[in-house]
Amino acid sequence: MRIRIGPFMRPAMKKSIWCEGCGLGNMSSIITSALVSTVSKRLEVDPNTREGLERIKNNIAFVSGIGCTSRMPGQLDFNTLHTAHGRSLAFATGIKLARPELTVALAAGDGDIFAIGGNHFIHTARRNIDMTLIVYNNKSYGMTGAQHSPTSPLGEIGTSAPYGVFEPPFNVVNLALGAGATFVAQGALTTSQEHLDQAEALIVAALGHKGFSLVNLIGTCHTGWGARNRRAEAFRYRRYLEEKVMKLESWKALPPDEQGKYFPLGIIHQDDSRPDFQSSKPYLDAIERAKKAVAGTQELLEDITLVEQDPLAVYPRTSVRFAGSGGQGVLTAGETDLYAAFLSGKSGVFIKNYGPEARGGGAYSQVTISDGEIHFPQAENLEVLVALTQEAYDKYRGEVSAQGKIIVNSTAVKEFYGDARVIASPIGDLLAREVRPPKKEQGINVLALALTMGLFNLAPRGSVETAVKKYFSDKNLKMNLRALDVGYKEAERQRGLI
């Protein structure tokens, strides 16, 4: 039985913008009726009591886009949102994710939801977010004056198709099914009471379905599209639709080449076995995993004393670049370097090479350290380059200042071109012989970092150790601390050589 919709209308909005005889009036009534009966059952409240009425209204979010249909939410005393053209499903997605307890319904026209909003339509269906979309599909843009839409029949006349529509329409049912909708129904708003009752029943069923549901209502626009296609009277257009629709069972019995001429009415697809987005196992599992991950990353408060600096002084800066190939961990080396400097009260800035170049195999990080504040983050010259590969050495040695130093991994870099700035250290051999990492080159970044820090005393060893402990996982910490030790010893040996 249809519920009286008067108490659900906003008094100021009783006069609608719709033309007399338009199906949108019917649609508004049956949506309201269906929403109220569904939500009153869900909340177990009586819509005839004042309290029950309030609770029902408070628990419904009714959303739309742009067009004649989209004016519907404004009339109704729910939580209502009249969004931008095509975007209703995106807004509704945000509402549903933030407030899952709300019943979320949408009213849309065919242009709004299948043309400009088509992308949101297929993706909301794919995700199976628990909301009900009711489309008033009159196969045209009504508000702007009878232009053709993605559901307009071929050959009919519109203001933007004066010589006939020449692009094929969507099969809306197949589109929804293809996108993964778990509930697809089709109804029609004609002269028949039976069709109207069926449409309401379809909306009730859709609202009862947990997941994304589409109710595609075949409707009319007698003043716009109808006026250009010999159906200018509401009654005549509605009668015309009656010839175009058919009960689902009868439609199924048609030979395939006949089926395209008619719109089947009823629940075309319903899959209750697939949980809705917010109840789905992958979503719930991800939340559980996320909770564990977040609980494990609580940062501790430390006592902090800021070191005051003269804002107008120029402080010397040292820029160090760690360069190598992708898997050598040069980015982490740079970050560890910066953290160690930070711990010892210095300022620093870290930049990395970024972009397509990074995927070519080469990578570098660059750290600039100073006792004073660092403003411009880019160094004009490098003081130190750590080159783990020949390619890195060849590519960046030109950026090192004349007084700078280049630490090269002489295990991999064989050609120094007689460069006097080079400090050759067999980093790769030392790693293999003295650190013996489980995987080749693991720890090479820590060894190179320790060698650099030891040679140039950029931060005290204690800070470097603390930084290494922070940046390297527990599993490899022992090996990395071994690499640190080997690196510092090598620094001592190199000092002796220099």
Binding site: R87, H120, E308, F350, H375
Partner: protein, 406 residues
């Protein structure tokens, strides 16, 4: 170790966290190495943002990745949407449902979001939008730095609309200004844009995050009294109407159409005028200006050459000013942290003493237009010179120093 409630930090100074440490308001913090993008996520989480909707785009993607890592485990909502428009649409929907939300993008993605920035402005929905600027127009240089969205940030969506735009220049500031952006967005019920850039977003620096209890948190004002009297766009003393969340029992209608105080569409010219003027006027009170406007002044007191720079370029400008001072030139730096609306009073005061004003920016002259407009109010008008670079490299301290010395 977490300690009890710490004294609140005043957000209106340049680095409120450093200032609080300096003055002993706080003595502890979390020491981290953060990129600008990471820092934005940390700021958002610490100020209570619990919703993120986004779409991957270089060089802003780390913000989405950070949101994905943290939010779901904190009772929040995260979704990578089908496109940039859906991201801001879902964000507005979630904000209307009561969450503090943010979305981040860059260049082409920010262009796509423009229509709904206007929707959020006219429906007065709190929302923080981050633009990690890259070099444009169009696809331009996805990994290259640019500052060419200055005017888009102010005027990008159609129609007269208010907006707040904040331009941080370091990871520490990205963190602190994200907190301020959310607080402004909630207090003034409007979208706030954080205008970062590829360099600030990608570079890492040491950052100090204060104890959570010391962070000032502003939540949107909620309606009180009878739901029947609730006017989501009503007149209030400060021009900011209260905002209920969907499901809170204060039902209302929100539409991008011109609407009256009750939220329902209107064609009454007086009401249209009242509402459009109100959403602008709410930023014009003395209290609002004190909250919103924020400018760093560095040795401007006696400066007759003033460099006006924001974001990454302001860091080169500071070096240039220091070098100029060492050479005996009275140079100063004026750095708008809130880029829009303009801090007109401060800018005019500093420009009023200047003979020469230099505006370096990574575009062909956008913020320079605003500075030139303001300089035009002065008599005599100081000379305004732009340093404009669009070759994807940064403007260096030497580039600015050269112009200071001319």
């Amino acid at each position: 170790m977490r300690t009890g409630a710490a004294p609140k930090i005043d957000l209106r100074i340049v680095s409120p966290v450093h200032q609080a440490l300096r003055t002993g308001v706080i003595t502890q913090g979390r020491r981290l190495i953060l990129s600008g993008n990471d820092a934005i996520v940390r700021g958002a989480i610490d100020v209570g943002a619990r919703g993120y909707f986004g779409y991957p785009i270089t060089p802003s993607t780390e913000i989405e990745e950070g949101a994905a890592r943290y939010l779901l485990g904190m009772g929040g909502v995260f979704l990578q949407t089908e496109d940039e428009i859906a991201a801001i649409g879902a964000a507005i929907g979630a904000s209307l449902a009561g969450l503090k939300v943010f979305t981040a993008s860059s260049g082409p993605g920010i262009s796509l979001k423009q229509e709904l920035i206007g929707f959020a402005a006219i429906t007065e929905v709190p929302l923080v939008i981050i633009n990690v600027q890259r070099a444009g127009p169009s696809t331009g240089g996805p990994t290259d730095v640019g500052q060419s969205d200055v005017m888009q940030a102010r005027w990008g969506t159609h129609g007269d609309h208010p907006i707040i735009v904040i331009a941080p220049n370091s990871p520490q500031e990205c963190y602190e200004e994200t907190i301020r952006a959310f607080n402004l967005s909630e207090r003034y019920r409007m979208p706030v844009i954080i205008l970062s850039d590829a360099k600030v977003g990608q570079m890492k620096e040491p950052a100090i995050l204060p104890p959570l209890a010391s962070i000032p948190i502003v939540n949107r004002r909620k309606p009180v009294g009878s739901p029947r009297d609730y006017e989501p766009f009503g007149l209030t003393e400060d021009g900011v109407p209260p905002l209920a969340g969907f499901g809170d029992g204060f039902r209302a209608h929100f539409t991008g159409l011109y609407h009256g105080r009750n939220g329902l569409p209107t064609k009454d010219p007086a009401m249209v005028d009242e509402q459009l003027r109100r959403i602008h006027a709410k930023l014009e009170t003395a209290e609002a200006k004190a909250d919103i406007l924020k400018t760093e002044e560095f040795v401007t007191d006696d400066a007759d050459v003033v460099v006006v720079a924001f974001g990454i370029t302001s860091r080169a400008a500071k070096d240039a000013v220091i070098l100029a001072r060492q050479a005996g030139i009275r140079a100063g730096l004026l750095r708008p942290i809130t880029l829009w609306p303009s801090d007109e009073v401060t800018i005019l005061r500093v420009l009023g003493r200047a003979k020469k004003v230099i505006v370096p920016e990574l575009n062909l002259g956008q913020y320079g237009l605003e500075i030139d407009r303001l300089a035009g109010h002065l008599s005599p008008k100081p000379q305004v010179v732009g340093i404009n670079k669009v070759d994807t490299a940064l403007i260096s301290p030497a580039d600015i120093l050269r112009e200071i010395k001319i």
